[in-house]
């Protein structure tokens, strides 16, 4: 907790020059600027407008993503998505750097201050509640796919005018798997490791239910066996989340879909290779989600996708931290990330250098969808909305 030793001159050399990051990211886009850029603001909200939010979680540093040495880890973002996106190079999270509370803050547009490990519903209305309330949409039109049981309450707030029943339907892929495969037992080491990540509740607390089985069969339109068989062919929980998202998009086609990816949080185990693998997998999954959007007639041409980390991780130079492993110091590296926005009406190959905040997400989506977000404290981003 206490930075006993200050940085030396040598250490100051280690601090990645963010301007270099910005310049390189800018150059990457410039090379692809030959793509025709649609006129900004040309897009107007229609009944068919859809938004997909993907959190590149949990917690990725510039150093391993858009900084020069990190770009090799995100070929999908760099080569496939960046040319078609408006890219925000400085997205600052000024809130609590815990995954649940930070992700929920992204969804409310307010820096929430509840205990990260409590798993409680936020006090401020979520984007999903604004969306359903303003546009009179049913629960099936807004979905949250969450990585763990601890995120189960992020779809709705406790706000009096909104609250439970007015928010998003939440789907927990791990819980689905537990329900579909109750006879499988988890291994010790993996479970222990997973529980040292910032998950609000132990995975052993997951219990299957009839509700979960109904979600598999009625929402995802899969038999229990099909779901289990496919899940067991996957490498990670995030792959399962994207698989669930694909099924959901095929059979329910919600207008508002929030996918919280979380594999990267394996970084808390201290294994750099696993952290990098998590980033590489997340990169691949972001492209997969974008491809699912483009190949699905319900989504192609009318969907805006946002990709952003919930926050970063501690820098190598901060003596109060331990490099990439955690996000405890509150330093610039842990607070500053990036965001990509893609879709109709979004300028392709545009690069926004000015700092924006992570809570700007909700008002921006509100503007795109034509809904009011009165209690959100961020500002809409005119570059994309």
């Amino acid at each position: 907790m206490f930075p006993v030793h200050g940085s030396s001159d040598t250490l100051s050399l280690l601090v990645r020059n963010r301007r270099e990051f910005l310049r390189l990211a800018s150059a990457s886009i410039a090379t692809s600027a030959i793509f025709p850029a649609p006129r900004a603001h040309a897009f107007r909200q229609t009944d068919r407008s859809k938004v997909v939010i993907v959190t590149f979680g949990g917690g990725a540093r510039d150093e391993e993503t858009f900084a020069p040495d990190g770009q090799e880890n995100i070929p999908g973002l760099i080569k496939t998505l960046l040319p078609h996106s408006t890219f925000f190079g400085q997205v600052v999270n000024r809130g609590i750097l815990g995954h649940y509370v930070a992700t929920t803050s992204l969804a409310t547009g307010v820096y929430e201050t509840f205990n990260n490990f409590s798993g409680v519903a936020p006090p401020h209305p979520t984007l999903f509640e604004y969306f359903r309330s303003d546009l009179k949409r049913p629960a099936t039109d807004a979905w949250v796919i969450s990585p763990s049981n601890g995120f189960r309450n992020m779809g709705s707030s406790t706000a009096r005018r909104y609250g439970p029943g007015a928010g998003a339907s939440v789907i927990l892929p791990k819980q689905l798997l537990r329900a579909a495969a109750p006879d499988f037992s988890t291994g010790n080491v993996d479970r222990l490791l997973r529980d040292t990540y910032e998950e609000p509740h132990a995975s052993v607390g997951l219990t299957g239910s009839e509700g979960n089985l109904r979600q598999i069969e009625e929402v995802l339109r899969l038999s229990r066996d099909e779901f289990v068989r496919h899940a067991l062919s996957l490498d990670s929980a995030d792959e399962m989340s994207v698989y669930v998202a694909r099924q959901l998009m095929l059979h329910v086609a919600p207008s508002l879909l929030w996918i919280t990816l979380h594999d990267i949080d394996v970084a808390h185990s201290g294994a750099f290779s696993l952290y990098i693998e998590g980033i590489q997998r997340t990169d691949r999954l972001c492209v997969e989600i974008w491809n699912n959007i483009q190949s699905n007639p319900e989504y192609a041409g009318n969907t805006t996708m946002f990709v952003l980390p919930d926050f970063g991780r501690d820098s190598d130079a901060d003596p109060a931290g331990n490099s990439f492993q955690h996000h405890r110091t509150g330093d610039a590296a842990s607070r500053t990330t990036w965001m990509m926005v893609l879709g109709p009406g979004v300028r392709q190959g545009a690069f926004v250098q000015r700092p924006v905040e992570s809570i700007d997400l909700v008002p921006t989506i509100g503007k795109i969808l034509g809904i009011d977000t009165p209690l959100a404290r961020g500002k809409f981003l005119p570059e994309v909305a």
Binding site: M1, F117, S185, N188, V189, L192, H268, S269, G270, G330
Partner: protein
């Protein structure tokens, strides 16, 4: 609890050295803002299990604060005094449970949006205190070698990429007898200066090398029984369904297995190894994390003059499929992942080395046995250069 209500009786349950130090500086402690006093108390309460250099640093810090005039001390600690605390924190028993207090304080600071203010106050305080206290000069130059064992291999991987700008890269290192040469140099240095806790060997498993007396050892294999007990404890907490990360962390940090698991026979070293498992994240599961965290903590806490850390194979992360179908004994190892972990571990070790006194005179080496590549950093090694000729490890260490 208000620091002004501290008395010598407050420290009755402390171990002897901690009790004496706290009592000696009672007036000072009573004058500090609560947050700073509690943070100091966390350092003091375990004084009996800290390394000599840590003890000296803690005492020097207290002596420096005591030497200041009241006005200067208040000015230096104002950032802590300005923090607003909850009634629960004001009433907390940080004298006996400073670790718990610090965890609750951290949560409060984040939730009340005061974390940045605390961070600024702590950074400014640490800089002022560091500036005022003379750095300890070890006499001999520091010597740190990171060895990546022969099993750690990933073909085509750009080893030492982050370290190369800071020293000389050796792409052709003959490995025969290399580890023995490194250990001989460690022996030689140990024989030259026999100060306790100045020379360390950290092993990530499987080297089988005999380590000389006088060298402190921290070994993954040698602490298997302790680790098993720790994992068992974690499993019980997690398995209860009520243990989230905070409870788990508190329970691990407060764990004291007593004399059940004597590892090296030296109480301070054994306590250190326990802390690597209890306070580190992932150290209980991955040997690479164990080595990285142990190296960091030894450099930070013991400020040694010699460290050799050897990374071995770590177990493989399981896929979902395996998690549901295989027992842990069938997991196997991850040579490529271990190499990447160790490569980054070498980099963070160099960073941690550069944080301690006289590091500008230190000699740092990292060497991959499998790839026959090494990096050397120090005052005699030109930055960002490469030495293409073949070289042996013994010769490299003599450069």
């Amino acid at each position: 609890m208000d620091p002004r209500s501290l008395s010598t009786a407050s420290f009755q349950s402390y171990e002897p050295l901690a009790r004496r130090l706290a009592s000696d500086y009672l007036d000072l402690l009573r004058s500090l803002p609560l947050v700073l006093c509690a943070v100091m108390m966390r350092e003091i309460i375990n004084l009996d299990y800290r390394f000599p250099r840590e003890r000296a640093a803690i005492e020097a810090r207290l002596a420096f604060l005591e030497s200041l005039s009241t006005g200067d001390r208040q000015k230096l600690t104002k950032g802590f005094a300005d923090l607003s605390l909850s009634p629960d924190l004001l009433a907390a028993d940080w004298v006996h449970s400073p670790q718990r207090f610090e965890e609750d304080l951290s949560a409060h600071l984040w939730a009340s949006k005061q974390y940045d203010a605390f961070r600024d106050a702590a950074t400014a305080f640490a800089q002022q205190v560091d500036k005022a206290m003379p750095a300890w000069n070890p006499g001999a130059h520091r010597f740190v070698v990171i060895v990546l064992a022969p099993d750690l291999r990933k073909d085509g991987y750009p080893l030492f990429r982050k370290l190369k700008p800071h020293g000389v890269f050796f792409p052709r290192v003959a490995g025969d007898g290399g580890l023995a040469a490194v250990l001989r140099e460690l022996d030689r240095r140990t024989a030259e200066t026999l100060t306790p806790f100045d020379h360390w060997y950290i092993d990530g498993g499987g080297s089988g090398e005999k380590i000389s007396n006088g060298i402190c050892q921290c070994s993954w294999t040698g602490s298997t029984a302790l680790r098993a007990e720790m994992l068992d404890r974690i499993e019980k907490i997690v398995g209860s369904g009520s243990g989230g990360p905070e409870i788990l962390r508190s329970a691990m940090a407060s764990w004291n297995p007593g004399t059940r698991n004597v590892i090296t026979g030296n109480e301070l070293v054994d306590r250190f190894i326990l802390s690597v498992y209890a306070e580190g994240s992932g150290t209980q599961v991955f040997s690479t994390t164990f080595v990285q965290w142990a190296t960091r903590e030894i450099l930070r806490r013991a400020e040694p003059v010699s460290v050799v850390a050897r990374y071995g194979l770590r177990q493989r992360q399981r896929t979902l499929n395996e998690m549901f179908s295989k027992s842990p004994s069938q997991i196997g190892f991850d040579p490529a992942g271990s190499l990447v972990d160790a490569d980054f571990g070498a980099y963070t070790s160099w960073i941690n080395l550069s944080r301690i006194a006289n590091s500008d005179q230190a000699r740092f080496f990292a060497w991959s046995q499998a790839h026959g590549q090494a990096i050397a950093i120090g005052p005699d090694f030109p930055r960002g250069t490469e030495a293409p000729d073949q070289i042996g490890v013994a010769q490299l260490l003599r450069l």
